[in-house]
Symmetry: D3
Subunit: 244 residues, 6 copies
Amino acid sequence: MRIKVINPNTTLSMTEKIGASARAVAAPGTEIVAVSPQMGPVSIEGFYDEAFAAIGVIDEVLKGEAEGFDGYVIACFGDPGLQAAREIAKGPVIGIAEAAMHMATMIGGGFSIISLIERMLPVMEHLVHGYGMDHHCRSIRKTDLEVLQLEDKCSDARDIVVRECRKAIEEDGADSVLLGCAGMTDLMDYVAQEIGAPAIDGVSAAVKMVEAALSLGLGTSKRHGYAYPLPKPYTGSFSAYSPK
Amino acid sequence: MRIKVINPNTTLSMTEKIGASARAVAAPGTEIVAVSPQMGPVSIEGFYDEAFAAIGVIDEVLKGEAEGFDGYVIACFGDPGLQAAREIAKGPVIGIAEAAMHMATMIGGGFSIISLIERMLPVMEHLVHGYGMDHHCRSIRKTDLEVLQLEDKCSDARDIVVRECRKAIEEDGADSVLLGCAGMTDLMDYVAQEIGAPAIDGVSAAVKMVEAALSLGLGTSKRHGYAYPLPKPYTGSFSAYSPK
Amino acid sequence: MRIKVINPNTTLSMTEKIGASARAVAAPGTEIVAVSPQMGPVSIEGFYDEAFAAIGVIDEVLKGEAEGFDGYVIACFGDPGLQAAREIAKGPVIGIAEAAMHMATMIGGGFSIISLIERMLPVMEHLVHGYGMDHHCRSIRKTDLEVLQLEDKCSDARDIVVRECRKAIEEDGADSVLLGCAGMTDLMDYVAQEIGAPAIDGVSAAVKMVEAALSLGLGTSKRHGYAYPLPKPYTGSFSAYSPK
Amino acid sequence: MRIKVINPNTTLSMTEKIGASARAVAAPGTEIVAVSPQMGPVSIEGFYDEAFAAIGVIDEVLKGEAEGFDGYVIACFGDPGLQAAREIAKGPVIGIAEAAMHMATMIGGGFSIISLIERMLPVMEHLVHGYGMDHHCRSIRKTDLEVLQLEDKCSDARDIVVRECRKAIEEDGADSVLLGCAGMTDLMDYVAQEIGAPAIDGVSAAVKMVEAALSLGLGTSKRHGYAYPLPKPYTGSFSAYSPK
Amino acid sequence: MRIKVINPNTTLSMTEKIGASARAVAAPGTEIVAVSPQMGPVSIEGFYDEAFAAIGVIDEVLKGEAEGFDGYVIACFGDPGLQAAREIAKGPVIGIAEAAMHMATMIGGGFSIISLIERMLPVMEHLVHGYGMDHHCRSIRKTDLEVLQLEDKCSDARDIVVRECRKAIEEDGADSVLLGCAGMTDLMDYVAQEIGAPAIDGVSAAVKMVEAALSLGLGTSKRHGYAYPLPKPYTGSFSAYSPK
Amino acid sequence: MRIKVINPNTTLSMTEKIGASARAVAAPGTEIVAVSPQMGPVSIEGFYDEAFAAIGVIDEVLKGEAEGFDGYVIACFGDPGLQAAREIAKGPVIGIAEAAMHMATMIGGGFSIISLIERMLPVMEHLVHGYGMDHHCRSIRKTDLEVLQLEDKCSDARDIVVRECRKAIEEDGADSVLLGCAGMTDLMDYVAQEIGAPAIDGVSAAVKMVEAALSLGLGTSKRHGYAYPLPKPYTGSFSAYSPK
């Protein structure tokens, strides 16, 4: 099976890191192609960035359908464009936030999310409520880090992440922590070892969820919620996106 | 005060109708400018259409800020782009679905939404849940009509709308009905008279809500949820939208 | 249009202050009449006071209907008598707590309420839950002040209010604060400037909401929830209130 | 122990019937005194009636405290004045709606409420939500009967009640039915036998709940929610009710 | 009436203490028989212990039905086996956690639960959510005590319990506290006096609730949720439990 | 990896069917061992059966830990013993009801559950609420079939299942259907084809979820909710289950 892992931002170094994580957990027969949209924000921090990233995600899914991909991962912890992408995909489309949350409830009781930046908290709160996770989410904690700091070997960024994760377990009563940014995708094992509790990377979780759905012959339901878009003209610069 | 009423689809006849409704309820000192985005879907039916309409809404709000508008109405009953638009606006940005729901709870107990088409039901269900209206929403009913049929004097489209509204009151226990499409904006009085209960047009409600906020000196809060987007480059065809 | 603003307690100095706030935001054509009931508590702090204040509110609405008022504001942050008053009014009846909460969700994400006194917290918690605002209300904070202290220029009462509002924004993650007592109606601008975030006065918000409803031709729905009371005799000292 | 059972309406024949039911289930050492307020509505159908009935309830509790009663039952399925009455009572004050709902969840899964008249449905819906019973309440059904019809031996009123109760069990999946009006207090056994499932009369349930609380030495908590009213003057015709 | 009070663990000293508490509050005509199962955990701390305790509870209820008991109390604050036991009992079966929570909402607003040990917190959180008490439960606090320490006159265990109860009232805003372990059954009066607020012992509360149900002629509903188990063979060591 | 699939009832023909389904979707490297407990009910219909089945599940997990299994599936749509089993397992333990529900929300909007028998509805309602799926579950439908009828080629049992599934899609607005009994595990493809929408078999879904967790190195969190049971003696016939 072929899975397109879409990093909704346009920072290619991060796309590579995400691709590496995805490939590391993919099943033998799974081909992972990690991409970034051709346009959009270099990083995603808030609803405005999400709106543009959603179009980038849609663009990649449209192309992916033509390229014969079987399923998709949206690799940003705000799950941008998830619902729209589902309308145009035959196969499953799964966001890393939802995948991480669903997985968390199956290997523990309550979970906490660690967000790198404060600006994503309102986005995540909407997702938690929308996914029915109000009773499972113990807290959403934040650091004041940027993704790039995680790459800097001399920085204490990883220590800061671990410290917040530890507080989530010890002060907030979480059973597990969710790494609330695709940029932390390579920290899953490190954090888990440091805190002595499961740390869940959404990228990895979503890849396995898409594989799971495909193994069961499940694609996105085309009844009600995510039926194909009704054919109609789009005007102006979006005319190429007119549903047929 | 100057309010930009954004019809998120690109059908100008509908934009005019929406503008007329908005002007009909606007306060003496209020200038209403009704616009459609320069690009996007001609009608909005589902999450895919909403994603593109959101960019159109953002585009109009960005221009609106430069043009000196004080507030904005998003005139589609799915409130597309609402949260993103709030990040870039100094003044209030209010969607017609939220305006109608909030108004309904202040002039009655439970309400029902009448959607023209089935494809908008999942979108509306998300809004109802997100806005905390689960206990106030009695039902979301649909017709199988298209907006244009409402214009056809010979069609029985209006009767069909009235029939569903009546069922909402009599069978579902609603105190009021919400006209779940900006294309029904001119039916408010007609429906209300026919069913003997309040019918709420979101366009009209949202205009008054924006006026209300502005009269109180209230704009969109710039703390937490809707702070201005962080400056960053956007790549490709979206580069013009890079937050400064 | 003529709006009766009912201060449910019988402290006339506060009624005047409330009237002044209402007039300050009222539209040009709006006549504001601020009144207190002829009987009842001098201040409202808890469910017992609310029960008596409700009768005072009802009394003023009954008289208001005879006097030709178009709508009503209930100017106590516990919204006493709101549902009963709706049954007897043709036009809209809006409480300052509900008006403030609805407005808050349209200009920000989460809000906090600042109560002057602890005794109103249980009342407010009931309202938050009943209005479906559980997910929007970040916190209800209290001071240990009395209304009169706010009038005393030498007291540090205003500083205390501002301090709690600031904590709501910075510690509780609120986007805006609601001034949880009609006695703070004149602090809206001052608090907003001090904390750099919207402060919402319910009196002002409710006046604009009533105006909005009336502009749309909306009165209280007479179907189901708030139909006119069924005619019946009331005995004893309440016989004058028998519904006809 | 002495329990005052307050019928919040002023129809004495109903008060007698309520008193008889209460005495029939009271423990040997319990003295039941059934009263009606000296003023107020002859029947309670909606929020307006409830507001006046609340004052009647308060009046009887105030007198009851002087008379040395140990606890109180509020015998109307809208629980009028419950929260206010708790503030002024040392002992427990329990409404028949809450008593019936709590009892129902301990002898079955979901329950349905049978209301005599439609006008009480919105009141009951508020109670169900406020008491946290959303997930246990299967339905609220209504008849179009009046209380007096239940007394008429020639009428088919009882059959109509039984029919709705049966539908609640068979169509709505309820495990038990709550008789949603104190006027049905004598139908508990009859209905239960007819439908082959528990029928719960709130008057009986509340008497036992008050006895239970008193047996445990429990009165109304005077911390936070229901502390005694703060001393203050009440003006006009309510001056006698000023909290000391 | 005869009530079997089942201590789901097999520590007989605790069973005696529970029996004493039950008898202390039982009505004159009530016979209390306190028992422990013949097999199972000596103490209950978590879901694993609960699963085995449930079988012990079932075993005692099965025997109880043959012995002619009228009702049952399950005396562990996790209510183990409650739903299964209801299927096989004609009369009421009530858990001490549910009894305490229901009672708490009738004599106060919000409550807190004091758990002796941390391991019971997840169990209690499930119960709070399942019983619809999310809005009434202010907090679940824990100590690091063991039941036996409460017996030791020289230990400061009681002081620790009182300290947490006080924090629940003063910091968490609870109106009452629930003693979250049957081992604290004898502390009800002591704690209440120390903290100046109601302390509710579930054992006592449940005995009164069973008596209340029986006085009203109410047993467990046999429609839907708790109908008798369908006859079928059980294999192996559980064959004696095959429903007939 | 080695996964033990536990059919909680003791009907071996069903265990074989479940094993076949599990093996059909398992990844190449996965060894599936399908077992039934040595004791317990031959079929599971209600809370009583669930209580005994839970012990059987625990027994198999305890043995499984000694046998070196990496993860477990509980193959009954009531997820019996799930929480207890998690306490004693190092690896993931996943129920078929939860797996099916989580999967459903990732490939569609709302889902419906089709239960073979009515007796499981209350069990399923508890799970839906506990898993936070209230907003995603459109309905729980039932047939009046028994598992064995599905095996009978001459019966119209399959048609009846399909008919209810179709109603779920068309009348209840579900996007997908969950086959609410492990006995329907072989109907997934057939039903999906007949109704033109995804049908989800929990056995298959749970196997993939366990594989997914294991691929990510995730076992059951041992912090808080599902830590290993505290060591203590169990008495009587359960002494062999004493936690060490």
